[in-house]
């Protein structure tokens, strides 16, 4: 028992020492401010998670823009798409004195308090891909408009199945904001007379994980023997679904479309498992987001609708209102990949 008491004492001493260290701390951190006179900034690029092609490509584009602008761009993030796990990266970026954070959020709300703290210290926040709560950022860089992404995918599927038959959607998680918005716009598009014979039978969720997505695809094939097509508006989902269709010998019987990466889908396109799918240029996306962050920092972009700015090789861009999400900058229209053009893309 005496030993225990001594341990407690030792811990107290250690804590006191730590506290003394704290009190004598070198100074307070995070006093970062955007340098209003200089032209070179530090930008922290925080994807939903690292390790998948899309975000790697975004990061490459961001660094490319940083090089052109003379900015330092650091790309880092958690290994799972969990909002709570992005927060320590935000805190760390603030402490290191970054001038801006470019973020794609899996949870629009969970990062908001941390981003608000960052903004209170003068850090500018630009969201892209997965938007955050509007009060937690200056501006959102949107992929092609949600209405376009929704409508294009319905058309890509419809044109493969003769605009007729049952189909399902294989999404990421039920809480993913971008997924839900695209699905909403798919439903809007489906109301057009052209698509009246296409019937959405099920929305399945593969959690943006290959294993879950594959399992959900198998379940769809079993539960709906008349299934004519699957729309998977997630790069993880579409490649897992293509794999399953290929294994089950269902390529050609069940059409597959959605949003996918050319590099991951190339072999399935060649096999005829996914003859038409799309995305946007992910490298341009990250590139544009960093250009926007830079112009927010140098004051060119204040958030007024109609402002224009130069975005390097993407030309002059405009600040707009994206169907209620504002202020916003749009990347462009979706790209479609087919067996004819897929070899032109490498990401």
């Amino acid at each position: 028992m005496k030993g225990k008491r001594l341990l407690v004492l030792l811990s107290l001493v250690a804590i006191a020492a730590l506290a003394a260290g704290l009190a004598a701390g070198v100074g307070s951190a995070g006093e970062s401010r955007a340098n209003p006179t200089g032209k070179s900034y530090k930008i922290f690029f925080l994807p939903k998670f690292i390790g998948i092609g899309v975000f790697t490509e975004n990061g490459k584009g961001g660094k490319e823009a940083g090089k052109e602008l003379g900015d330092t761009v650091v790309y880092n993030g958690p290994t799972e798409p969990v909002g709570a796990k992005q927060v320590p990266f935000i805190e760390s970026a603030v402490r290191q004195g970054f001038d801006a954070i470019v973020i794609s959020a899996p949870d629009a709300n969970a990062v908001a308090p941390a981003l608000l703290r960052a903004r209170a210290r003068g850090v500018k926040v630009v969201s892209y891909d997965g938007d955050v709560r509007p009060d937690a950022r200056e501006i959102f860089v949107s992929p092609p408009l949600a209405s376009d992404i929704g409508a294009f995918q319905v058309e890509w599927l419809g044109s493969q199945i003769g605009y007729k038959g049952e189909f399902a959607i294989l999404s990421a998680t039920p809480t993913a904001a971008n997924q839900n918005t695209w699905i909403k716009w798919m439903k809007v598009a489906l109301k057009k007379p052209k698509y009246r014979n296409m019937k959405l039978v099920k929305i399945a969720y593969g959690n943006d994980k290959p294993v879950d997505s594959a399992r959900e695809t198998q379940a769809l094939l079993q539960a709906y023997p008349n299934l004519k097509g699957i729309i998977a508006p997630t790069t993880v989902g579409i490649s897992a679904a293509a794999q399953v269709l290929s294994q089950e010998g269902a390529c050609g019987k069940v059409a597959l479309t959605g949003l996918g990466l050319p590099n991951e889908m190339r072999k399935f396109v060649k096999k005829g498992c996914a003859r038409k799918f799309g995305l946007w240029n992910e490298r341009d996306f990250g590139y544009l987001a960093v250009y926007v962050a830079h112009h927010v920092l140098d004051g060119t972009i204040t958030g007024k609708i109609g402002e224009t700015f130069k975005a390097g090789r993407l030309g002059t861009r405009q600040v707009v209102n994206c169907a209620g999400v504002k202020p916003c900058v749009v990347l462009g229209k979706p790209l479609v990949f087919t067996p004819q053009n897929i070899d032109k893309f490498n990401f």
């Binding site: 390790g51 958690p78 039920p174």
Partner: protein, 355 residues
């Protein structure tokens, strides 16, 4: 007991090793990044992990009692969404929080009854409730979730005093003291250790085994509720059905790295707290140095493995015979058993083969 023996006993404690590791990692982090030693950073580095720590405190009781509860992260999700729904329905936010804690405790009770009364294996039971409670959370609140709560309420889990001292850190330390006293200074705490060390022996010596086992699961649920309703919601400002997903590994890391024996009977709240600080510090240092997230996971995973291996080596030494005079590394029970068998308690012989 001589002072040399006392010192030896201290040096052999897991908590001491953790303290040394914390200082070591701190020194390493300071070389990694010039921002590490800033006061604001040091004060804030544990904050994002406070909710993990609170869950780990509750789980520590369960593990010390010789069981496991992997449903804690789903319990957190259910309590958070129940709370959010009540707030949305216009219930006073503090009452709703209380109700959220009630729900969490009830979910813990569910686990406790299945394990403690029906004597089902806790790994299987809580694996089932991990999935079931997660599903329940989505039933209660699906979609984008709730993010509008009164600012005064959010301060409990996400506020700062003087812009630097995080309130959740105080919540963590306060609850560590309360739970530390409960585990180490009450009859209930002694029962938990006794059951974890040898459940049959505990039963024969009159410990109310079933009641204590049910209680530890309730406590585990309650702690997940506190972690969720106050700290998770307060710090992240978000209540969604997927709250807590992907966090189980961190919770278990804090418990195991904290020196809690996964076979039961050994552990301390101080150890869990120190382990949490160590992991938070390590992540903070690596983040400030902008080391890639995947590399960070490898380091944390390696640390956990090292902890398990060295923990087991120490225990093997304690139980097996690697006796170093004065170090007091051996478990009391072993010493007692040896004494009965006529083995001298404090021999001068350094090693002995077998048990």
């Amino acid at each position: 007991m001589t002072s040399r023996q006392l010192l030896g006993r201290l040096l052999g404690r897991w908590e001491t090793l953790l303290l040394v590791a914390i200082v070591g990692v701190g020194a390493w982090s300071a070389t990694l990044s010039p921002f590490f030693l800033h006061r604001a950073n040091l004060l804030d580095l544990v904050t994002p992990y406070v909710f993990i720590g609170l869950i780990a405190f509750g789980l520590a009781f369960v593990v010390i009692a010789g069981e496991i509860d992997i449903s804690v992260v789903s319990t957190l999700a259910v309590s958070v969404v129940s709370f959010a729904q009540l707030v949305q329905a216009g219930v006073n936010v503090w009452l709703a929080a209380l109700a959220g804690l009630g729900v969490a405790t009830a979910l813990g009770l569910g686990n406790g009854l299945l394990v403690g009364v029906l004597n089902l294996p806790s790994l299987a039971v809580t694996l089932g409730t991990l999935a079931a409670y997660q599903g329940l959370a989505f039933v209660i609140l699906s979609g984008e979730g709730v993010s509008s709560f009164p600012a005064g309420y959010l301060r409990v889990g996400g506020g700062y005093i003087g812009n630097e001292l995080p309130i959740p850190l105080l919540v963590l330390l306060g609850l560590a003291v309360v739970l530390g006293l409960l585990l180490h200074a009450t009859r209930f705490g002694r029962y938990v250790f006794t059951i974890g060390a040898n459940r049959e022996a505990a039963r024969f010596s009159g410990v109310p085994v079933a009641r204590v086992r049910v209680t530890v699961f309730c406590l585990s649920g309650l702690m997940a509720g506190i972690a969720g309703v106050f700290v998770y919601v307060g710090y992240f400002g978000s209540a969604r059905a997927d709250a807590g997903q992907g966090q189980l590994l961190d919770v278990v890391t804090a418990v195991v790295l904290g020196g809690v024996d996964i076979f039961g009977g050994v552990g301390s709240i101080a150890g869990v707290l120190l382990a949490l600080v160590l992991v938070a510090e390590l992540r903070n240092g690596m983040q400030l140095a902008n080391l890639p997230g995947d590399l960070q996971n490898i380091v944390i995973g390696g640390l956990l493995l090292a902890a398990i291996v060295s923990g087991n080596l120490i225990r093997a030494a304690q139980a097996g015979g690697l006796r170093i005079p004065g170090l007091g590394l051996r478990r009391k029970e072993v010493i007692a058993a040896d004494a009965e068998a006529g083995v001298p308690v404090n021999p001068t012989v350094e090693t002995r083969q077998g048990g």
